[in-house]
């Protein structure tokens, strides 16, 4: 069978299996064709490529000059222009490590350590103040690097916190058990905004006088606490899936209770819940956009501030499509990673 025959058969089976299906396929096909050509027309053919806001307004298509003009503000916020290479390097490092994580051979403790290093690398490059790098205060961090920083540290903090909370929830000590349950249920019952409000408005009121805690760090801690509660529920699912026989066998071998958890139970439990762990991580990535409500300029926050420029009013669709694609790129890469892990780890090879 040649390619033509094969695709003919495929179309007969999947698109034209009956007269009714054929009508549906033809109608849908023409709608999709019309939508795609309209989109291409808007973004390319009738788009404005150069000129000012007035030229864009006279045209109806996509306004590229707006993107050229605001690109660095959207991507890097108000970071000083002469040091822009630093945030650029951190973004590149993040993307490289994300794609390295796709390689099955690298999965393991080393990869985790690499992510930890990446977190501190990002922080070091954004902040500076050491090894001859000029110090930049956290109020001027912004755009994509801030989003990635919130995500990386959020995940690195929330994962261990989640494990502790999940173990604490199963503890024999009643007090620890109820503190963990209370914390998890409280956090999961309230919206993220209220936790962020708490970090930005409430927390500074309780600091002793003269102590200043930068807003970025307050938001970062809020994210770790919030996501920790969600991670705890994910980890708990894994712990519940491990049969009691494992604990008993470990005890019979003379392992102490912490040894049992660390060497026997956790490695198995965490492996089972890798897919929901990554979904929670994707949720965290999307949720970092909420920091704009407490006036931090992450990717979405700096986009909003780019839209406020009075000489470029009225191009928010362009801006949102652009940052939407960036978010889509990161989130869909992470979910592809999750699907790959699920596939590779579903057949347990030991």
């Amino acid at each position: 069978m040649n390619f033509g025959e094969r695709s003919g058969l495929w179309m007969k089976k999947n698109l034209f299996s009956s007269p009714k299906e054929s009508i549906v396929s033809i109608i849908l096909g023409s709608i999709i064709f019309a939508a795609i050509s309209k989109l291409l027309n808007w973004m390319l053919l009738s788009a404005t490529w150069t000129g000012s806001a007035e030229v864009c307004r006279a045209n109806s298509g996509f306004c590229w000059p707006f993107l050229w003009e605001k690109m660095s503000l959207i991507l890097f916020g108000l970071y000083p222009r002469e040091y822009l290479w630093r945030p650029i390097l951190t973004v590149i490092a993040f993307v490289v490590l994300m794609f390295m994580s796709f390689d099955k051979k690298r999965w393991g403790l080393n990869l985790l350590i690499n992510w930890l290093v990446l977190g501190f690398w990002t922080l070091f490059f954004l902040r500076g103040g050491m090894f001859g790098l000029h110090y930049i205060e956290s109020d001027s961090w912004g755009g994509l690097p801030l989003t990635l920083l919130l995500f990386t540290f959020g995940l690195l903090g929330a994962y261990p916190l989640g494990i502790f909370l999940a173990l604490g929830r199963r503890s024999d000590l009643i007090i620890i058990k109820w503190i963990c349950i209370g914390f998890i249920e409280l956090i999961r019952g309230v919206p993220l905004i209220s936790v962020l409000f708490m970090a930005s408005v409430l927390f500074p009121l309780f600091l002793p006088e003269g102590v200043v805690f930068e807003k970025y760090w307050r938001a970062q801690i809020a994210f770790i606490l919030f996501m920790g509660a969600y991670m705890a529920e994910v980890v708990r699912g894994g712990l519940q899936a491990i049969s009691k026989g494992q604990t008993e066998a470990a005890k019979a071998l003379g392992l102490s209770s912490p040894q049992t958890q660390i060497f026997i139970i956790l490695p198995q439990a965490l492996r089972i819940v890798i897919p929901p762990t990554v979904s929670t991580a994707i949720g965290l990535f999307k949720d970092t956009s909420l920091v704009l409500i407490i006036a931090l300029f992450d990717l979405l926050g700096s986009t909003k501030s780019a839209l406020k420029d009075s000489s470029w009013l009225g191009f928010s669709v362009e801006a949102y499509v652009f940052v939407g694609l960036i978010y889509y790129f990161f989130c869909s890469s992470l979910s592809r990673l999750s699907r790959k892990m699920e596939r590779e780890l579903s057949v347990v090879k030991r």
């Binding site: 698109l15 408005v201 999307k286 704009l292 979910s335």
Partner: protein
Amino acid sequence: MSLEKQGVATGWNFLSQESGFEIGETLIEYWSDETYLKALWVGLLNTVYVALIGNVLAVLVGLFIGVFSMSPNWMISRICRFYVEIARNIPLLLQLFFWYSLFNELLPAVDQAYSLGDMVFLSQRGLKFPWFMAGHWEIPTLSGFDFTGGGTLTPEFLSLIMGLVFYTGAYNAEIVRAGIESIPRGQWEAAQSLGLTRIQMLIKVIIPQSMQVAIPPMISQLLNLSKNSSLAVAIGFPDFVTIANTTLNQTGQAVEVISLIMIIYLFMSLSTSFIANLYHRSIAHKGAER
């Protein structure tokens, strides 16, 4: 201690003070000379209203898309998967801004509103439609700078609902799809041999059984939508968090206001999951009896 030093008022007295702000859309009558307590109550009603409508629509979208993503027609299932993929990988807040900006930038001004038979009007001011008021049907008419009479859905409300439904609908669709996939092939074949059409098979055989698998994650999506409705504060819809936020800014009573937000949502989450679990248990019980 340090709260008093910083001049922050404490206590719940502020609730009985005059709020002094207007609220754009309310379900009950409210004036700016009424108390903060009344204003917060108005906001709470708006939150419940959005959560109810949003959840009903999101479940319908989820059922619809979830069923169609299993369609044997390649084009239908691709479109459904494409929608789910887009909706789940873009932050909800960005989606809300996007829908809201469509109202401001793509829709015509009030005097050039799109109209449907001169009864329903869509413009930057939102959707105006005939509504039963004070004993008779009122049709919105343009007078001056805005429509008068009839019912209104504001751009803030519409974009909040669209964003929440578009986002959560995709998650619900995946849950419905997983539910349908959990039903063994034998059930499909048995239904087919009884001579049922595909739609009858789905409604009478497959969907009722897949509810067992689908309801627990669906409950957590119901809760997610309700909690996410608090993002209304970013596009200016007067939900509970928006009004609480204004209250906080005016009175400065951060401790009280933020704990109020947390208590209200905690109560909503716990009671929703309590009721939903009772319902789920009753269904599971029925299943066991069969």
